[in-house]
Amino acid sequence: MTETRSMLLNVGPSHPAMHGVIRLIMEVDGEKIKGVDVEMGYLHRAFEKMCETMMYAQCFPYTDRLNYVSPLINNVGFALSVEKLLGIDIPVRAQYIRVIMSEISRVTDHLTCIGATAMEMGALSVFLYMMKAREYLYELIEEITGARLTVSYVRIGGVKADLTQGFADKALQKIAQVRRVLVETDDLLTRNRIFFDRMKGVGKISAQDAISYGITGPFLRSTGVSYDVRRAQPYLIYDRLDFEIPTGTQGDNLDRYFVRMAEMEQSLRMVEQCLAQIPQGDVNGDLTGCVIPAAQMVDRAKMGQTEEFIEDEVTTDPTLQGSTRKYYNAINAPKKDVVLPAKEDTYGNIEGLMNHFKLVMYGHGIRPPVGEVYFPVEGANGELGFYIVSDGSDQPWRVRVHPPCFPIMAALPKCLVGGMMADLIPTFGSVNMIAGELDR
């Protein structure tokens, strides 16, 4: 009689097929997976603890680094939570800008997820095509935010800068390019026997299990549950947009692939609708003064020559482009205790300077009332929620982020056990684990 013993196998924490650092301790019997233990935390950077030591506005750069494939959605989620705490609304144009940027980010996230999964199954050209498409969108993001990844673009009470001139045309052009790539990759993957066989029926999870594990997003929708925060509890202007919520039926890798592919098209549609609906900026037409460099305005202000500044406009550093007085009202809530003043005011008059200082100096800053809020937004992986407790000071008492891929990782053993070793790769790919938001 032969004796069979199972073997313990480590996958990760640093393995080419693991996107990000995570360790799976697997018990395998030949090629069959008998048990999986997930060990995480390798990328823990104490996001929540750091936020407790920062002023509210200073938390944005940290949120960029949660889900670093779609940082703008994290920015939006955090800003909306603090705005809920403060009880303020933002101008409609700023809401549209936030939605446009969120949806572009969602597409970049799904492109990365599908591209990486396809690459790990041998379809390297799909990965390259999708990275190319992501690059088109990153160019759009870069044009507006000034950065590709660490954007820190959203502000409490608005956004950093208005859309640039001719952005709509550029965006439509890029959307058309992305659509072409999607058609190409769809041709390469969807009717591809190898891809199909490796995805279909693999990594299955039932709707009931998914709900019990608290899974949201594309992963939940692939099981047939059509829950999407944008539809269920619409925030910003999502209730004005026409979009569908793609769902699957099986809850397997193939359905998750289909859901993500369909969602990208929906997101692109949403961006198009936003560009058509967005109200024109509240551009101050009576700016008759001259356009001067910001440094010159500061120098003149120091000498007290401030009389004609009321009508002047400054040219700023490229990182602040679109945040001057001309665009200010359209993209920022009219709350002086929350939003930094327009650059002309900061440089050109004492009230603006004081206002600026009162918001950025330690011990001053934005002071929400004592209370606690939870605000969910639809992240690329599912419900992304920020729970913030305020003690009335300028620093949050507690910031908790509900990371959408955390529950999915908890359910990963459920998807893997009983399957084959090789199925780990497509299943793990379809989870779209982002270590930055998982470990925080």
Binding site: M40, G41, H44, A46, E48, K49, M50, E52, T53, K84, L85, G87, D209, I211, S212, Y213, G214, V225, Y227, A232, Q233, V370, G371, E372, V373, Y374, P376, E383, G385, Y387, V389, S390, D391, G392, S393, W397, R398, R400, H402, F406, P407, M409, A410, A411, D439, R440
Partner: protein
Amino acid sequence: MTLLQTVQEQFPQDIIETHDFRGDETLIIRASALRAVAEFLKEMPRMDFNFLMDLTAVDYLSFAGGRLPKEGRFEVVYHFFSLKHNHRIRIKVPVDDKNPEVDSLCDLWASANWYEREVWDMFGIRFRGHPNLKRILMYEEFQGHALRKDYPVNKRQPLIGPQTHD
């Protein structure tokens, strides 16, 4: 009748306080009633909270915002969501410093398993009946619980430090 009123009517003795700041319906309940309230929220058709969306804790040590929790230093915070009714509720359970322990909800919602491990890891609150209560984000050798307010933010505990050769 609001959600809060329904629960209040069912558990009149166990509810310490309620509020709906910014529309977030919140109940603060006694730790002893947690299981009963959780089961009620899950099973009652009127409630039907099938998602335990989030579970975390807050350390109120030296909280400056007035309104200190009367019953202890920590609060364990549960965010429930109902897919069918599309409503949310927040349950908070005060836990004292001496014996920080509450009941586990692992058997009701599978998502509680990892969330409770994280709360144990970060706050040192134990969950009675949890099948595998070990650290999740930090390593086993880590001393203390990082999100407690008395854990210094700049304290370092390198697991693999530089070897000292002398």
